[in-house]
Amino acid sequence: MRDKIKEKLGSKIKDWKEQSARRVYFTVDKKDIVETVKFLFRDLGMRFSIASGSDTPEALEILYHFSNDPSGEFYSVRVFIEDKNNPEIDSITPLFPGAEWIEREMWELIGIKFKGHPNLKRLLLADEWPEGEYPLRHKNEP
């Protein structure tokens, strides 16, 4: 499985890290994310477990977690979005509907805009929550 990914994605993989027997992390450019996800989900038949966004000092970061259930391996694809003022990335929801909610969640909590998402509206936050305030950003913290 690892060889297949390396062979197909080749130089698109920036940083390949095998943390343990069942944990692989690798980084791709944000423009390549749809292609990468499509390959893992459709061609290799992995299950999309979830994505997790976080705010780091340098950039916003998204990890797309894929589970290869037969072997118990977990592949986490990392993407950095440098422009914190107007963070944008292509949506993966058009590929499969299971990603709809988590992209909505990352949009409202971290403020990442998903281009091409069919239904980008609030999922968890209250209607009264102010626009442009993203609770999981660290801007107000030391």
């Binding site: 477990s49 997790s52 976080s54 977690h65 037969p70 988590i102």
Partner: protein, 401 residues
């Protein structure tokens, strides 16, 4: 006639922990579309976890859900142990067995709870009463081991907080022995009953392809023919050292989801028995003090499916990012396809079949266009479901006569 009517279900029932709001778009009896609105109980736990130190987080995540209140702390400690190495390297042997026992006891009590609710929804109130009656001894076992009937406070990074005393083991074994006849009864009541079969089969079907596309997990996925179980695929605790089977069904309907849960309880009983007899003596805690920088992923097969935690540490005593994905997050979304095409009387059941701790049918409005508005309560929806069960019963009786 395309007279579209909106039936809102929800959003809030004060007794249950996951208020959700379903808007059913119906034409006549048939559900044509469904809108799911969540977020009524958003407590910002991921943000709160960033302000707690690593030893406090289990208490916090335990309170995410009162039913699977060992799955979240378990997934969390697994994530931290993944950062440190692996669970098996970090945690003492005996603690692994205790963790497994807690995890499986929780599965039994949760499945019984669901079975009772499902019985109630289709008008089998005896099943409801019995399921909850036999759930009590399971909670007694929890109380004996952990001191609590809910929110067990057992998990910590590197081990467990309380040991299982030798003198308690006979009681635990006896209680398990007494549980098996009750499970036999439920198995018979569900799998051999023609009315339940007629009522639950082909209701709320999620096909295998839909299950893949919506990324559903756990009993919902296993009922749709997806052979997956975190306990086998990525064994934690001692699941790789005991004999048990993954239960998979093909049909994807409510009946299949019920069968999966009933049969899984037998496996849980067997796992706990093996653990109690194989459990070695020894330490229960590795006394881990510092968490180095890094990231880790922990996942646990919760009663409802895969529970996922992601932890990122920068070397301080608090996580800088803690992502939690409860299984219902994936499964509730799949209701969108499972309920569409069915009837209103099936919708309550279909929405409940993924077991989202859901009972928010307390306040229901039926809107016919905008001029004619009628407020029903949740009982009316359950009554609709009961009526259909009775109809199925009569049809079966007439067919035989």
């Amino acid at each position: 006639m395309s007279h579209k009517v909106i039936v809102p279900i929800g959003p809030y029932h004060p007794l249950q922990e996951e208020p959700e709001f379903f808007q059913l778009y119906v034409e006549g009896e048939k559900v044509v579309d469904i809108d799911i609105i969540i977020g009524y109980n958003h407590r910002g736990i991921e943000k709160l976890a960033e302000a707690k130190h690593f030893d406090q987080v289990p208490y916090l995540v335990e309170r995410i859900c009162g039913i699977c209140s060992s799955s979240h702390p378990y997934a969390y400690v697994l994530a931290v142990e993944d950062l440190l190495g692996t669970e098996a390297n970090v945690v003492p042997e005996r603690a692994l067995y205790i963790r497994t026992i807690i995890d499986e006891l929780q599965r039994i009590h949760s499945h019984l709870l669901w079975l009772g609710l499902a019985g109630h929804f289709i008008g089998y109130n005896t099943v409801w009463m019995w399921a909850w009656k036999y759930r009590e001894p399971v909670l007694d076992m929890f109380e004996m081991i952990t001191g609590n009937r809910n929110n067990y406070a057992m998990f910590k990074v590197g081990g467990v907080r309380r040991d299982i005393k030798d003198e308690d083991v006979p009681f635990l074994k006896k209680t398990l022995d007494e549980l098996v006849p009750a499970l036999d009864m439920f198995k018979g009541a569900v799998m051999d009953d023609p009315v339940i079969q007629a009522r639950l089969k082909k209701v709320g079907v999620l096909t295998k392809q839909q299950a893949i596309d919506w990324c559903v997990v756990g009993p919902t996925a296993r009922a749709s023919g997806l052979n997956m179980d975190v306990r086998r695929d990525e064994p934690y605790g001692v699941f790789d050292r005991v004999d048990w089977n993954v239960i998979v069904e093909k049909d994807g309907d409510v009946f299949a989801k019920t069968v999966v849960r009933v049969l899984e309880m037998y496996e849980s009983v067997s796992i706990i028995r093996q653990c109690l007899s194989k459990m070695p003596k020894g330490e229960i805690d590795a006394n881990i003090k510092d968490i180095p920088p890094g990231e880790g992923i922990g996942r646990v097969e919760a009663p409802r499916w895969e529970c996922f935690h992601y932890i990122k540490s920068d070397g301080t005593n608090r996580p800088i990012r803690h992502k939690i994905r409860a299984p219902s997050f994936m499964n509730v979304a799949s209701d969108k396809v499972a309920a569409v095409g069915g009837t209103i009387s099936d919708a309550t059941l279909t929405l409940a079949a993924v077991d989202p701790c859901y009972c928010c049918t307390e306040r229901v409005e039926v809107i016919r266009k905008s001029d004619d508005k009628k407020i029903m309560n949740g009982w009316d929806l359950i009554k609709l479901s009961h009526e259909k069960t009775n109809k199925v019963k009569e049809e079966l009786l007439n067919g035989r006569a």
